[in-house]
């Protein structure tokens, strides 16, 4: 085989070895980003999200690439085969290194594309100084990781050692800065330039070591012979302590398995314990000193250590196929599962609880015990166990130890994003979230048998897929149950609404807005306020007559002004000064006429909110009309016209029915053609309410709930009795989240729902939120009495 072909094949082999990470890492990164975008639309280009995922992704690759390319070869014992090939050792070393560089470069390109895409939609990132060191640091970590992997036998230990070594260039930069900086800059951080310089030097040193260690690892092994007299002495010692060939007393498998796990994973357990202890110490010191760091390294260290402990639960047995030894001896999978979980859990729990107790009871560095510390401590420990839960699951599912150690930290972020989406957006109960977060333990418990037997067929992967679906989707079950079982609009009501909508006289024509003082460019000199008010009436009337379109609450400014003029003029009529009263009489008549005309036009509006606004104007008008002087002031003809309109309950009913039908039609149409459900119904905001409606419910459920609300409104609009049943009012109040008092129920209710214009706060309010709260209340009877006085 010629050399060139061998090198090509070698390239392909190395890249293929990296392929699982090159696929998994970006996939998880995009999944996390998608979950984040789904979770928080208002802040979708949050810088911290990009930092966490798209800078962490190449970092994780750099940490694991060496262990994957070299450590795995050692564990699978293919390194000797590689060394036996007719390729120079340095060629093998260089190809491995180059393949790792290519892999890292690919991931940086993907990260770069993400940031470019992000920058299109938001202000360019300006504060990138502190993160400019990250790319060079990742290359340093890559080379250091490869060098350590060549030197150290165990891939997992090599992986662990990368973490402290990654800090070396920064520490050197700190030392250099401390030595060289002027006094006033002594306490600042080293500049990015200094750090990058140290990293470049570190890269060069690491590359040298890669070459050296790699060649040594691929060269024939050197055996050292001890001095003869020392060898004899050693042999004598060994013979003296020779244990008899006896198994000793048979003991229970539980402690034996615990011991076995602790021994085989001792390097990882010690390494991660040190990481946790360092993180705990840094956390306590940070709290004590109230230091503010941009990247909380202590939290990151804690999280990484917990994740690796989780991944090690099953991976320590996967290494060298150790689990087969236990499986072949028929050990119970449940026992295996328990003994694998218990040691890492003990490590995490012991260090976390010890830290909490230290902080609470001993109070180092001035920290005082507080209930808050206990609460935060418990929440932090719970979060760690969620990380552990998902990491141990990833450790069982992903067969490669190195890939699982690298990917597990990213996998353990998924529950936080997915569950915060469920809580914030879908309103999932926290109890369900807690159950779902610890379901991975059950998943691994049930899969242990197959994992032990290494039966990773289709059935295994489908089962794991099923578990993943349950774990992620379980918090959404209440939402989907509601979607499946909550009633919407009945068929009968739907047909009735369709009949109303189909009527050619019922046109969906949106209200126009009237403006006060429209002709402001034709400024008339000020004469008097009465003249100004008359001009305002003229202006509004001319706009009103210029269109046949409905008017509504969008014109509340001018309408309320006309009402105010009417009220003021009405009060003036009671003044004794007759010279004033003619002007005011005219004002009163004109404003009352205009109000009456405008209310009739409002009744043609397709929006429910406009009907309610019309009700509030009519209530104020009924009150005016009931005053003794009003009839005389208006004159008989005008009075009867206004009274007839106010007394026309049927017209009001028809208007309400039409508005509910058209509002539903409008909502339904908009909902069909929009990804996001409309946020309003008939002019009322749909948020909140006793039915839990939120625009983030998802289109299906939102549509169902709005339909239900529309049906209840329809029932009330179509009412034709004497008194609306209280249950109907309560249902509407509950649907829309309005206090029942607004519907005349409970203490003080009479002041809100106008059963008598004399007893209630009968003043037109701007934009009351209580939909339909005046429908068929007692004021309508008083309105009828204007025309048909009861005896």
């Amino acid at each position: 085989m010629n050399n060139r072909l061998m090198i090509q094949r070698l390239w392909w082999k190395e890249l293929r070895q990296l392929l699982p990470m090159l696929i998994l890492l970006p996939t998880i990164a995009f999944l996390l980003t998608a979950l984040y975008l789904l979770n928080d639309n208002s802040n979708q280009f949050n810088w911290s999200a990009g930092v966490a995922v798209f800078l962490g992704m190449p970092g994780l690759f750099a940490v694991g690439a060496g262990a994957l390319l070299v450590g795995q070869e050692k564990e699978m014992r293919t390194i000797q085969w590689l060394a036996s090939l007719p390729i120079r050792p340095q060629t093998i070393v260089r190809i491995k290194t180059a393949a790792a560089v290519v892999g890292l470069a690919i991931l940086w390109v993907i990260s770069g594309l993400y940031f470019l895409w992000r920058d299109r939609y938001d202000t360019p990132m300006t504060d990138i100084g502190q993160f400019s060191v990250w790319p060079t640091n990742s290359f340093f970590v890559l080379f250091a990781g490869i060098a350590i992997a060549w030197r150290i036998k165990s891939a997992l230990v090599a992986l662990l050692l990368v973490v402290p070594i990654a800090m070396v260039p920064y520490v050197l930069a700190l030392v250099l800065h401390a030595m060289m900086a002027a006094d006033e800059y002594y306490y600042t951080d080293p500049s990015p330039g200094t750090v990058i310089a140290m990293q470049v030097i570190g890269c060069l040193v690491a590359l040298f070591l890669v070459d050296r260690f790699g060649r040594a690892a691929l060269s024939p092994e050197r055996v050292r012979l001890g001095l003869p007299f020392l060898a004899n002495a050693t042999n004598r010692e060994r013979n003296g302590r020779a244990a008899p060939a006896s198994y000793g007393v048979i003991q229970s498998p539980l402690p034996a398995l615990i011991w076995q796990f602790a021994m085989q994973s001792r390097a990882l357990l010690i390494g991660t314990s040190i990481m946790l202890l360092v993180a705990a110490a840094m956390l306590l010191m940070r709290y004590a000193s109230r230091a503010n760091s941009v990247i909380p390294f202590d939290i990151f260290l804690c999280y990484l250590a917990t994740s690796w402990l989780g991944a090690s639960v099953f991976q320590s047995d996967s290494a060298h196929q150790r689990i087969r030894f236990l499986a072949d001896r028929g050990l119970s999978p449940r026992l295996i599962w328990l003994t694998r979980q218990i040691v890492p859990i003990t490590v995490i729990a012991a260090i976390a609880i010890a830290t909490l107790l230290l902080a609470s009871l001993v109070g180092p560095a001035g920290l005082k015990a507080s209930p808050g510390l206990g609460t935060m401590g418990m929440l932090a420990i719970a979060s760690l166990f969620v990380v552990f839960s998902f990491s141990q699951w990833a450790g069982q599912v992903i067969t490669s130890p190195i890939v699982s150690m690298v990917v597990a930290p990213l996998v353990s972020i998924i529950p936080f994003t997915a569950y915060s989406f469920s809580v914030v957006t879908l309103g999932s109960p926290l109890g369900l979230i807690s159950i779902a977060a610890f379901l991975p333990f059950l998943a691994t418990f049930l899969s242990t048998r197959r994992w032990m037997d290494r039966r990773f067929g289709k059935r295994y992967w489908f089962t794991q897929g099923g578990y993943a679906a349950i774990v992620i989707l379980m918090p959404t079950f209440p939402h989907f149950m509601a979607l499946a079982f909550e009633p919407g609009m009945s068929r009968q009501v739907r047909k009735q609404i369709e009949t109303v909508v189909a009527n050619p006289n019922n046109v969906l024509r949106m209200p126009v807005e009237l403006v006060l003082d429209k002709d402001v460019e034709n400024e008339r000199p000020f004469v008097s306020f009465v003249r100004t008010w008359n001009n305002q009436i003229d202006s509004v009337r001319s706009q009103f007559r210029a269109t046949s379109a409905p008017i509504g609450i969008s014109s509340q400014g001018p309408i309320l002004k006309i009402l105010a003029i009417n009220l003021m003029a009405g009060m003036s009529l009671q003044q004794s000064d007759s010279a004033v009263s003619d002007e005011h009489l005219d004002l009163f008549r004109r404003s009352m006429e205009l109000l009456s005309d405008m209310v009739v036009r409002m009744r043609t509006s397709p929006q429910v909110v406009d009907q309610d606004f019309a009700d509030s104007i009519e209530i104020a008008m009924v009150r005016q009309m009931r005053r003794t002087e009003t009839r005389a002031a208006l004159g008989e003809e005008r009075y009867k016209l206004v009274a007839a309109r106010l007394a026309d309950t049927q017209a009001r009913r028809d208007a309400r029915v039409r508005s509910v039908a058209l509002s539903w039609y409008n909502y339904d149409s908009q909902s069909k053609f929009s990804r996001v459900p409309p946020s309003q119904f008939g002019g009322y905001d749909l948020q909140g309410g006793g039915d839990g409606l939120s625009w983030k419910n998802g289109k299906g459920l939102a549509h169902r709930r709005v339909a239900r609300r529309a049906e209840n409104l329809w029932r009330m609009a179509d009412f034709s009795g004497d008194e609306v049943p209280k249950e109907w009012l309560l249902e509407v109040a509950s649907d829309w989240g309005i206090v029942s008092t607004y519907y005349g129920l409970g203490s003080g209710g009479i002041y809100y729902r106008v059963d008598s214009v004399d007893d209630s706060i009968a003043v037109a309010k701007k934009g009351s939120n209580a939909i339909a709260n005046q429908w068929y209340a007692g004021w309508e009877k008083q309105a009828r009495e204007l025309l048909y006085p009861s005896n």
């Binding site: 008899p244 006896s246 003991q251 218990i342 209930p371 808050g372 609460t375 105010a564 206090v739 003043v763």
Partner: protein
């Protein structure tokens, strides 16, 4: 025969390796159970405290808030006030009003009222007052009651809209114009009616239900006091009228009682927000609102309010000190910066000192106005102004009446006219020895008495 070896027992720590996990886990379980027990006890204490608050007829949620407001206000004239508020907003919203009227519009307010000097906007002002006379008369008629008026409010925690009380400031401005004009034209009866109605508005909207309403109430009272002070620059009042003005500036509700009621109302709004995880909470603490469902966090919130509630128990003299102490050492935020309990404390504590200062400033202004009225009464009684404020004892006033809450005596000098001054709003700690110069921004508190 082979000698049988005794069975080899592995060392204790190999045989009992499970102890290495059992012992730490047991300790961990004990700690977790301990904290769970603490939370359980905290939840019981919270429930007991909530029950105590309920039994005291204080608000704890929107429903009790509504009932509390109903119980502490009067429904008499509520409909009239509602109509007045609506009309007040409508009549003030005219271009001519904004251009020509002081207080409501952008027209200048002269430092003192001088009937001898022409007032260019007076014709427009007079016309406007004529056309709004029915409204003003209606205010006069309903403001005699001097009780908080009930208005429909939809209590929804932090999102409670307080539209009526915000609009009440409009009414105060309308009456300021009325009083200003009456003083300018020398109509003492009309001016007195206006001042009485300003007093009535301050009473009607003296809603002791939360910080915002109290602050508006303080602002309304401030308007009333300022117009009384302004009126003293004209020699128009009779002794009976001055006695009436004195009765308007007498101290109302006890400060301790008021403070406790306000904080109780504020607590009710917050607890409603926390219980219902309302949108106001979301705005304040983002997606961390669920933390407020933890019993220890709720207990800490109640504890914070309990501490703030008692800030005025030693009277207004200690209020400033106590409020400052609370703000300087806010509970749960002192040593543990990231305390969850600190989230709740952080939502209320920053407002405490500002509110306390507003209460104290209001009291100082009341005393200042009372002193100014007293000087005029002395002059009417004795034919001359007092030589010093100590002489006001002769008309039944106490030294505390001409001293600020902080213990500083008002400045005074007399000649043809008397001048009494208090501290500048720029520097509340100092009262100038000499009469300060008037400034356009109105930061100096000086009353000129003729």
């Amino acid at each position: 025969m082979t000698k049988s070896q005794p069975p080899i027992r592995k060392s204790f720590w190999k045989r009992k390796s499970f102890l290495f996990v059992a012992i730490p886990l047991s300790i961990a379980m004990v700690v977790v159970l301990y904290y769970a027990g603490m939370q359980y006890q905290a939840s019981r204490r919270v429930a007991a405290e909530v029950q105590r608050i309920r039994l005291s007829n204080l608000p704890i949620d929107s429903e009790t808030q509504s009932q509390w407001f109903l119980a502490n206000s009067s429904k008499e004239h509520s409909d009239a006030w509602a109509e007045i508020l609506m009309l007040g907003a409508a009549v003030a919203n005219e271009r001519e009003v904004l251009d020509n009227l002081p207080y409501i519009g952008n027209a200048n307010i002269p430092p003192v009222i001088d009937p001898g000097k022409p007032w260019s906007n007076e014709p427009v002002v007079a016309q406007w007052l004529e056309v709004t006379k029915p409204l003003i008369d209606k205010i006069h008629s309903v403001s005699r009651l001097k009780k908080p008026t009930w208005q429909p409010l939809d209590f929804q925690g932090f999102m409670t809209l307080l539209e009526p009380i915000q609009n009440s400031r409009n009414l105060a401005r309308i009456l300021q114009v009325e009083v200003e004009h009456a003083l300018y034209v020398g109509d003492a009866e009309r001016a007195m009616r206006g001042l009485q109605s300003l007093d009535g508005i301050a009473h009607a909207f003296d809603w002791n239900i939360c910080l915002v309403t109290d602050l508006v109430g303080i602002a309304l009272r401030g308007v009333h006091f300022s117009m009384i002070q302004r009126s003293l620059s004209l020699d128009i009042w009779t002794d009976e009228q001055l006695a009436e003005l004195s009765s308007q500036v007498v101290q109302g509700q006890d400060v301790t009682e008021r403070w406790r009621a306000t904080i109780a109302g504020e607590r009710g709004l917050l607890l409603d927000e926390v219980t219902n995880q309302g949108p106001g909470l979301g705005e304040s603490v983002g997606g961390m609102g669920f933390l407020f469902s933890i019993p220890s966090v709720q207990e800490s919130l109640l504890s914070v309010y309990s501490r703030i509630e008692s800030a005025a128990d030693q009277g207004i003299d200690e209020l400033a000190k106590n409020a400052k102490e609370i703000e300087k050492h806010p509970p749960f935020t002192d040593d543990d910066r990231f305390s969850i309990e600190g989230l709740g404390a952080g939502m209320i504590v920053p407002a405490v000192q500002a509110f306390a200062e507003a209460v104290i400033r209001n009291e100082d202004m009341r005393r200042f106005t009372s002193t100014a009225i007293g000087i005029k009464r002395f002059q009417l009684a004795n034919g001359q102004f007092p030589e010093s404020l100590d002489q006001l004892k002769a008309i039944g006033m106490n030294p505390s009446d001409w001293t600020t809450v902080g213990g500083k005596v008002f400045g005074y000098t007399a000649g043809d006219a008397a001048y009494v001054w208090s501290y500048s709003f720029r520097d509340p700690q100092t009262i100038a020895q000499e009469k300060p110069e008037e400034d356009e921004n109105g930061t100096e508190q000086i009353v000129t008495i003729f």
